[in-house]
Amino acid sequence: MRNRFLATPYLIWMILFVLVPLAVVVYFAFTDVNSGALTLHNIARMGNYLSIFIKSIWLALVSAVICLVVGYPVAYFIAKAPAGLQRFLLMLIILPMCISFLLRTMAWVSLLEDTGVINNFLGMLGIGPLPLIRNNAAIVLGMVYNYLPYMILPLYTVLEKMDPRLIEAAQDLGCDDMQVFTKVTLPMSAPGIVSGITMVFVPAVSTFYISKKLGGTDAALIGDVIESQFKAAYNPNFGAALSLVLMILIFICIGLTNRVSGDEKGAMLV
């Protein structure tokens, strides 16, 4: 009884700021922008934006995979470091998150642009200017940079609490160092991999600021389209429909990731 009572503030919060807005989104998605009448028109228009959906998901996926490849060794190293060093390294990972996301993305712009720091330096060596910005690679760079900590932290958590005796048991049964990794460490970190990929993929697929600042003029992602429906096109109903479809696509992607990683329960809880 007491536990239930303590959960009420959170329940009220959830209802007010998650369930109600979700209902509003669904309502908007199925009503006409002018008349307010029920319609499937918003959903039907979705086909025109198929390529943008695909591109958004693709870039987010690439970013998530790069984050995994870059983040796993880092997380492994931190998890095996002595306790004092662990705290210091974790702080280094978290520190950039204390600085505004917008500011950090702006900083990349001034690094990468044609008259930016890197191209200026290369210019002095007689190279360039190289096209470092306004392309998909720059978007992926921005996503990887911004979301890497969300990959490292859940991986660190699973690796750190892994029982070292399991590694000894694997060695005892005949594993060399490589086999210990592929047969024990990697499969056992699956929950961390799933939650890391989810935590990178979900914000990356719906981002609009990174693509606006680092992407080309034609590089609008689905997040940019949604933003423009509310801010420029004044069509919140279509924006809501896009959001709804994006949400469903994200759920499908998460479901697939979970499926691939086997039946790891509690993967999202790390």
């Binding site: 029982d163 399991l166 000894e168 005892d172 049964l173 005949g174």
Partner: protein, 379 residues
């Protein structure tokens, strides 16, 4: 006589300036059940880890079949381990846990299946193939751990307090089970425990250790009947240990009285420790006893009573099936074969006096045996 399989030569282990093993010399025979017995921190687990290859001795050699294996990594040794708290792979089911070592050896599927099934049969876990380790009880997990190690047909099986987390009843059952498996398969077992009863019940050879040194090596009977010093006498079973003086061969003096004993080979008038086991003492009416004393405490233990008897200020523990009320005056008789004489050692005077008797006397200091529940790290 079975042949020697493993030998530790002058093994020293130092961690952070602390000597954990002090020049251990020990050999293990093929097909033997050998137990390393001692209190926490005596170096028994370290010895096991050196044999398993998880630690390298600071100095000294370890020989397997006469070949030095100090630098051979664990996965290349013909030795498998049953870990304390099992260390089963939580992401694999029972079958795959047991098959783990065989898959690494690339055993053909058909043979692998036969061997895994046979092994699960041996430990009584047929039908559990597809269960995950977390869904098993402690005893079942323990048997999976044994099966996972034994299925590889190692020459040597190391067992690190494998029964420590089980309750008393299950522990007794598993002791029999382990002994049966060892005899059936003819594998050398090296078993680590702090439980003296377990060691006596299962072993061919017991090695008693304390402070990184071997105190005594022998059969369970030797260790119990002929302890070499006060530590062994106290650690294995209960003992009354008295100061005595060896008068000559077969005669020892304590409590100002001369007793006939069966020991010899000491210097004339050499100070010695005299051990008298509580169950060897015969109680008589006061007028016909060698010594007389007053009962100060009686505890009912089921099979017998533990009584504490005050002899001139020195309190003895006596185990008897007859009831003697507190305050009664009794006599005792000591037969020559009940008196065991040991040379003085660094442990003399530390043990064997029951003046501060409490009912907890038999609990060894034992931080290893922490809760059974807390070790499952699963969320």
């Amino acid at each position: 006589m079975s042949k020697e399989l493993i030998r530790l030569v002058d093994c020293v282990m130092v961690f952070d300036d602390e000597t954990v093993l002090d020049s251990i010399n020990l050999y293990f025979n093929d097909k033997e059940f050998l137990t390393l017995l001692g209190p926490s921190g005596c170096g028994k687990t370290t010895t096991l880890r050196i044999i398993g290859g998880f630690q390298k001795p600071t100095s000294g050699d370890i020989l397997f079949d006469g070949v030095r294996i100090n630098d051979v990594p664990p996965h290349k040794r013909k030795i498998n381990t049953v870990f304390q708290k099992y260390a089963l792979f939580p992401h694999l089911n029972v079958y795959e846990n047991v098959a783990f070592g065989l898959r690494l050896q690339k055993i053909p599927e058909k043979e692998l299946d036969a061997r895994v099934t046979e092994m699960l049969e041996l430990v009584g876990l047929r039908g559990f193939e597809h269960r995950k380790p977390v869904s098993l009880s402690g005893g079942q997990q323990q048997r999976v751990a044994i099966a996972r190690a034994v299925v590889n047909r190692p020459q040597v099986l190391l067992l690190d307090e494998p029964l420590g987390a089980l309750d008393l009843r299950l522990r007794k059952d598993m002791q029999n089970e382990l002994k049966r498996i060892q005899q059936q398969l003819g594998i050398t077992f090296i078993y680590v425990t702090h439980d003296q009863e377990e060691a006596l019940a299962m072993s061919d050879t017991v090695v008693v250790m304390d402070h990184g040194r071997i105190q005594q090596i022998g059969t369970p009977e030797d260790i119990y009947n002929e302890p070499k010093n006060a530590f062994v006498a106290n650690f294995i079973g209960e003992s009354n240990i008295l100061d005595g003086i060896m008068l000559e061969d077969y005669a020892v003096e304590f409590f100002g009285r001369r007793f006939v004993c069966v020991d010899k080979g000491f210097a004339p008038r050499e100070p010695v420790d005299v051990v008298i086991r509580p169950e060897d003492i015969d109680i008589l009416p006061p007028d016909s006893g060698h010594l007389c004393g007053t009962v100060t405490n009686v505890t009912f233990k089921g099979i017998h009573y533990d009584i504490i008897v005050d002899f001139k200020g020195f309190k003895w523990l006596i185990q008897t099936t007859d009831f003697h009320a507190v305050g009664s005056y009794i006599g005792i008789r000591l037969n020559p074969e009940d008196i065991h004489v040991m040379p003085k050692s660094e442990y003399s005077g530390l043990f064997g006096d029951y003046s501060s008797y409490s009912e907890e006397y038999e609990e060894m200091g034992d931080p290893d045996a922490d809760a059974e529940e807390e070790n499952s790290d699963e969320e």
